[in-house]
Structures are given as C-alpha cells and as structure tokens.
Amino acid sequence: MLRLWFDKGTLLLRGQVGTPYGKWDPRVGCYRIKAYHYRDVLEYLAESKLQVEDDVPDLSPLEQLRSNVALRDYQIEALNNWCRSRSRGVLVLPTAAGKTFIALKAIQQLKVQTLIVVPTLDLIDQWRKRIKDCLNLETGAVGGGESTLRMVTVTTYDSAFIHAEQLGNRFMLLVFDEVHHLASPGYMQIAEMYIAPYRMGLTATYERADQRHTLLSQLVGDPVYSVGVEELAGEHLAPYTYEKISVRLTPQEQQIYESQMGIFRSFLQQRRISLRNPADFQKFIMTTGRDPKAREALLARNKAVKVAVNSEAKLTALAEQLEIYRKEKILIFTLHNDLVYRISLRFLVPAITYQTSREERREILANFGNGKYPVVVTSQVLDEGVDVPDASVGLILGGTGSNREYVQRLGRLLRKKEDKLARLIEIISKETMEVSTSRRRHQKIGDAS
C-alpha cells in the first residue's frame, strides 16, 4: 500500500504512484510533496481510488471548549464567505472591528487543532487571554521562551518559520493575524511547510507596496471579505478626528537642516539622480553600499531628517497637547528611539521600544490599560496589534511615509467605547520634507482599509 508521511516540512509518498503535486526525490527514493498540498494529494488519491496509509498528521488531543462569542452582522457575513470558499481566504477588516472574534468562531465551528500566527510576543499574550475569556480554553504557545503545544496554540511568524520542520504536521487550521507579513519571501515558507487544509488570514492592510500580496491567494486563499473604516466608523468603531499642527524648527536646527539637505541635494544634482518613487530610493540606497560619496549624501540626509523629526519645537508643542488632553489616555508615536527616551525622560512617562524587556512591557501595558499610566510613548513597536481599548488620543511626532503605518496607528484608537471620540494629532516641522512625508501617508486614507 502507499504510505504518506511528514518529513521536515515536506511530505513523502512511498509507492509506485506519481501525483500532480509530487516530485521524485532520488536522494531518498520517494516522491516528495510540498506540505501545503496535503489536502490536494489526499483528494487526488481518493479520486483515483488508491488506498494510502496516511501517517502525516501528528495532532494534539481535542479539548472541550465553551464559546460565548456572539458575532455582529458584518462579522457573520465575513465568516460565511470564508466557510463557503472551503475554509480558506483572507478577511480584510479595520483594526478594532473584531477580527479576533471571527477567528475564534471559526475555531469553535471547525473544532480542529489550530495554530494562530501573530507578529509580536505582545500579541501572543493578547490572543491567549482572548481565547481563555471567550472559548474557556488553555492555549499552548511557541516563542518567547515558551514551547507548549495544545489544541489551540499561538506563535509568532518567526517561531512558526524557524520550527516549521517540527510543527508543520500538527495543525489543521492556520490563522494568520496581520496576514500581510506572510507574503514576505521568508515567511511565505510557513504557508508552504504546514499541512493545514484550513487557513484564515486577517488584516486591515491587505495591499503591500511591493505587490507581493498577490501571493496570498495561493498561500492562504483569496480575499473573501472586505470592509473599510468609513463603513464601520460611528456604529461599530469610534468616530475620529484628525488634526495637523505645524511647528517651526529652532534657528539652530533650521541651519543644520539646510546645510545637511544641501549636501544631499547637490549630490543628487551632480549625479543627475531623481528620486520620484520608493523604487528609485531603494536603488539609491543600494549604490551607497559601494559608493562612499553616495553614502555621505545619505548620512547627511538622515541627519537632516533626524533634526526635523526630533525637533525641540515639537516637544514644546507636545507639552501643550499633553496639557490640553490631560484627562485622556494618550499614545505618543515617534520615528526614532532616541526621541522616545527623550520624551520619556522629559515628561516622566513610560516608554516602549524594541529594547524594553517583555516583563516591563507587560507591566506598562497593563497599567496603561487600567488607567494608572495615562501616557505611553513608543516608536514603531506598538504600531501593530496591541489592544488598548480606551486610548483616545494619538500624538504622532514622526513616522515613515507609509500609509500602512498611519492606518495601524489610527487603529490603536478606534476600539469603540461608549461615546468615545478618537483624535489623531500629527505634529510636523514646517518647511521640511516632513510636510510631504505626512501628505504621502494620507494619500490613500479614503481606501485605507
């Protein structure tokens, strides 16, 4: 009889039968098949009336779960669409629209071993807590020093990638939180090396600037449901306002800015380089690897950006805003870590960066959640996922030009709570490139979902 088993992230089929999915591997004398064709191969063999000894899955015991999840109408529609496309596909919903609950409902309905893949360790904690609360289920976790497998297990993209050879045959459902990460060249192997026939992708920002999101159809499934911020704001999401405050660099800063930008601009002129889009810029960055002059120009530009983004004038404006919204819960976002620590030291508020230990981070977020700490300052590490229900003011002191970053930061504030009004306030330096960076991130806010 044919035998099919799992071998380090792939399947091996022994027997004199080829399938459209396999390839003869002379190194071991068997057909080798990508793990994500598991369902396809079984279906193919069944249609061909061939019996196979299936030793592939190695599954944890199923546990009893009790669900108290009640979905809203748009969530039900999303889940139905997903079920109809053979339990595969991507759901595109704004942050705070309750993507998690749709996934939990899917787990409850399918009742299979599930791996939830998330971008950060914070999100592991958040999902585990949510699963405990809503499904009354203890979860396993892989990552951050932990390694336990349960019926429902939560892990990071990094761990799912590194341990694909060991974990690939242990789950039947994969849930990818912030699924746009999966399309990167490394992480996409997660999708290929796991057998799970059921797959759900969740994101608020489906499209990637590099167009790789088109790969997701093959890896997870097509987008099966999509709804934007505007459609849900008010009824399901908190209504929000946006305000821009422009400040003038101090004379000294202005001088440094002009001279450094001058070095950068004259280099571009000399070499007749024009930077019109991100691809142009990428090309320029590559030349800095071998051309010391180009590197000098890049460093000058970075210095200018740093001056503009981290201007002293912004801190004065920040002080005013902190005074105005002293009764609210405030998140401050910056581009650079230096500024995070400057703000933390100046205003004596807690900071979270990639250097913050996991325990301190947990403690700060918990205290921010329960209202003890009214303000948290962070660079880019909190852009994604972390859930702070009643944060209502976002102060942006700097960022990249990416629309995704903007949408994600906005998403931190949109969780609906009573009659909350969310405010996103951007403080930018006048007459610097910050103006156009800011404009760039708003360009697509209309269809930001």
């Binding site: 071998d7 080798r32 508020v349 700490y373």
Partner: protein, 518 residues
C-alpha cells in the same frame, strides 16, 4: 556570523567571494585600534566606546568592516548595568508619582517629581537622573574584555563573513580530509540532506528537503553552521551556490585549504559525546594485540548509494578490509535499519553491541546467525572479534581463490598489473598476486607487481640491444626510458630478466651503464 547588512563580497562574472581581510598593515592597524579601544574602555559606557568605533569609520575604513570587527569584540566583552538602584523599579516609582501629580509639562513640576522619588529612595537627584535608563544598551558599562590578537580577530572575521554569505546559499559541495563523524553528525543536527559522489575523492553535496522544489535559501543558516566543522580539517575544498539577494542570480563560490586556510580561523571543535572513550580504549587494546590487522580510526566513509556509512574503525590485513562499529544506545529497529543499509554495499561490517545499552529487549535479532553482530556486557571481548576476523579472512580468501579458479585466465594485454587485475574481478591484491604467481599463464613472466608477456619482454630486449649496438654502450637512464615507453615501470627487474647488469660509476645514477651479464 554577522548581520547580513555587514556582508562584504566581490562579485564578478557569476562568481562570488567574501572580501577577506588579508593580513596587511592597514587591516592590522584597524584591528589593533579596536582591540586597544576596548581594553582602554573597561569601566566606560558602551556609547563612548561606539563613538570611538565610529571615528574609525570616518578615517576611511569601510564601515561594514569596522562594525563587524566591533561586533565580534562585543561578543568577547561583558557589559553590565552600573546602578545602585534597579532601573526598572526606579522607573516604576517615578511613573507612580507622575500618576499622582499628573504628567509634568514644565521643568518645575518635573523637578518636584524627581525630588520626591529621590528622597523616597534615599538617592541624590543626580543619581535618579543617571540611573533612570542605565539599563539601556548604550548606557551599559564594559566590565570585562578578553582581548584577541589582531590576527585572530581577522581570522574570526573572515570565517564569520563566509558564514554570513552562506546564509544565502542554496547548496554546498565539499570534500575534506577527515572529521567525518562530526561532519555527518552536524549535517543531521542542522536538518540538512546530503548526497555523496566520487569526483577525485569523496564529495558531499548538501541541501535540504524542500530544495527539491526550488532553489531556496532556507537551508543557508544550516549550511553556514556546518562550515566550521569542515574547515577545521587540514585539507578541504568547499563550493557553494549563492543566491545573491540584490539581483536574484545564482553565483558560484569556491574556497580551498591550499589558498584560504590561513585566512580563516581554525575553529576548535568540541569533541562530540558519542566519540567516546570506549572507542579510544578499544583502539589501544586492539593495537596491543599485534594481531596482524592494521587498525585505522574513522576511515573515509563507505558510500552506500547516495548515502554513507561512517564506521568507527577499519581493519586491514593482506588487502582485506573489514569495518567495525561500536554501537551505543540502540533499538532493534535501529539495528535492522543499519543492517539494511550495510546490505546495499559490498563490504563487511561488524557491529559490537552493548546489551546493557539496549533500549528494548532483544528478541528475534539474537537468533539470526547471518548477522555480523557481537554482543557484550561491560568489556569488549577480543577473542570473539579475532575469531570473527580470522574466519572472515579465511572465508574471503577461499572465496577469492574460488573466484580466481573459476576464471578462464587468458590475457591479451602485454602488461597485467596485479592491483588492476584484482580490482577488475573484485578480489584483494594479495589474493591476485598469490594466485597469479602460483599459476603463471604461459607466455608470461612474473615481476614484483606485474605480469609481462614474453613477447613484450623480447620486444624490449630487441630495442635495448639495438641501442647498445648503435652507440657501443647504454646508460641506465636511457634503458629505463625505453622500458617505460613500452609500458613497464619495473625497469630493474626487466633488465635482470633480460640478463643485463648495472655498472655503477660512483654514486651518481646518471652515469650508471648497463652491460650484458657474463
């Protein structure tokens, strides 16, 4: 290994090579500058040290080279947080006071909060400011540093650089002079797959399970980790296919011990656990037996199809080779699989199995006499091993004789070398020699290692005589050249057979002549 943004390579016409830091005045200078900087910054903050490192970048050194060296030195350093208060606890106290007083938006309000915390923790205001973020990476203080030599640092850099480039490797091919057990152990540990092939020695090709579907960098990290185990040997050639990330093209990489071994740091290998003392003591005791069998530890792997068997020992006598392996912990399935693998190759392998280390009860195995297994309890028993060896030896020999007897030995070629003949029909050279000297075919004569046809002998005799007749005398080296031209190497024996003797003139063989023996 380094972060990939510090990688420096030369890439030309599809070939790729790391930009090795060769020993030179300027490279030594950079290395020494950094090593001294670290030594002098013991007790200072990391940010002061890194500022000095940045200075070196400004002096015209390639910044990726400088940063990589600094990173390697970081790994030889201990950085600690210098603070009389636990910074996390200190911050917690400050944030708690902020919670009561409200976020300070003026410096006066801020001062008040700091003062209140300082008095509560019996610290000065300056202490509170200094310790607030004293656990940040840049604020840590260099406590200990073990300084390498500049040459060691550069060697380590070159090895790390090669490994970093191999992160992007899709496959690796190598051949090397030893250390096979470590290498194959590592291949398995890193989840790689190997195939062996012969190409002027034994070559191993490395990639991974999913490499079958497309060229993938997935196994690059495993390949990079394997490199030190290979280059720890004295001789090696390493080739790789590298998928260059910026252009997405495959580039060829090749280094070899002859050219590169002095550039790369020789890693010291930790001896692996299963390379145990039991093998050591076995080797000693066996050699003391003077059994006539030549024992060799870790012989070159035996290729079994595309896989290999790496026996612990080879034992050789009169051209007959028997392999021997001491099995540690085992299960019946493990032994059966091993035996299955051995069957694929035409070699004799004796397994010494410790019953105490059995992971399950012996059952069917024990009653299979055809298996080459010897069980033992605590001491390896030499008597049964020698009995086995002698029995095998006799068996192989008599089998060989049978093979040879059955052959219609009829040669057509004028020269038959014993070793070539033995290899052709699959017997030991010894057996071939014994058989052929005992059964010399008609029209042939026997020399030390070859048979030569009488026709060939006469042909050589004719040519030598002609040469002597023409010149009146013949130098030995001239005669040897003629004999070699005729395809025979053993000129001294040929001349003796033809009835010539050598007349030496002093010790210089250039002047030696030959003459007919009287």
């Amino acid at each position: 290994m380094l972060p990939s943004d510090l990688l420096l390579v030369y890439k030309r016409k599809g070939a790729i090579l790391p930009r090795y830091a060769k020993p030179s005045i300027s490279n030594d200078e950079a290395a020494n500058f950094l090593i001294t900087a670290y030594q002098e910054h013991i007790g200072e903050k990391k940010k002061a040290l890194k500022a000095l490192v940045a200075e070196l970048e400004d002096k015209g050194y390639e910044y990726r080279f400088v940063r990589a060296l600094s990173l390697l030195l970081d790994r030889k350093s201990t950085f600690v947080c210098h603070s009389r208060a636990d910074p996390i606890d200190l911050r917690r106290k400050i944030f708690q006071v902020t919670e009561r007083f409200g976020v300070p938006t003026t410096s006066e309000k801020r001062q008040k909060i700091i003062e209140s915390v300082a008095s509560k923790m019996s610290l000065s205001i300056e202490d509170v400011e200094a310790y607030f973020y004293s656990d940040l990476d840049s604020e840590l203080v260099l406590e200990k540093f073990s300084a390498p030599l500049a040459s060691e640092l550069l060697g380590e850099y070159n090895l790390s650089l090669t490994q970093t480039m191999l992160f992007d490797a899709t496959e690796l091919n190598f051949t090397t002079s030893g250390n096979w057990q470590n290498i194959f152990h590592a291949i398995k540990k890193f989840g790689l797959i190997y195939e062996v092939y012969k190409d002027n020695g034994l070559w191993v090709k490395i990639d991974g399970p999913a490499s079958l579907f497309k060229l993938t960098r997935r196994y690059g990290v495993g390949i990079a980790k394997l490199l030190p185990v290979i280059v720890a040997n004295s001789e090696w050639i390493v080739k790789a296919k590298v998928l260059w990330r910026f252009t997405n093209e495959i580039c060829d990489f090749k280094i070899e011990s002859q050219k590169h071994s002095t550039l790369l740091k020789k890693p010291c290998l930790t001896t692996i656990t299963y390379d145990s003392s039991i093998e050591e003591s076995f080797a000693c005791q066996f050699q003391a037996l003077t059994s006539g069998w030549l024992l060799k530890r870790e012989p070159e792997p035996v290729s079994a199809g595309k896989q290999v068997i790496i026996p612990d020992f080879s034992l050789e006598k009169a051209g007959i080779k028997i392999y021997l392996e001491i099995v540690g912990f085992w299960t019946e399935e493990y032994l059966l699989r091993k035996i299955e693998k051995i069957k694929q190759v035409d070699v004799k392998l004796l397994l010494l199995v410790n019953e105490v280390l059995a992971c399950e009860k012996l059952s069917a195995l024990e009653r299979r006499p055809q298996l080459d297994l010897i069980y033992y309890h605590d001491k390896i028993p030499f008597a049964p091993i020698l009995r086995y060896l002698e029995t095998e030896f006799e068996q192989v020999k008599s089998k060989e004789v049978q093979i040879l007897r059955g052959l219609p030995i009829k040669f057509t070629e004028p020269v038959v070398a014993f070793n070539e003949f033995a290899a052709r029909i699959g017997v030991s050279e010894e057996a071939a020699r014994n058989f052929l000297t005992a059964n010399i075919p008609s029209d042939y004569i026997v020399l030390a290692d070859v048979l030569v046809s009488t026709e060939k002998l006469m042909q050589i005799g004719r040519r030598i005589k002609e040469a002597i007749d023409a010149a009146g005398k013949l130098l030995l080296k001239e005669a040897a050249r003629i004999i070699e031209e005729e395809g025979v190497e053993d000129s001294a024996n040929i001349l003796a057979k033809l009835g010539y003797k050598i007349k030496w003139r002093g010790i210089n063989s250039e002047q030696a002549e030959i003459s007919r023996a009287v």
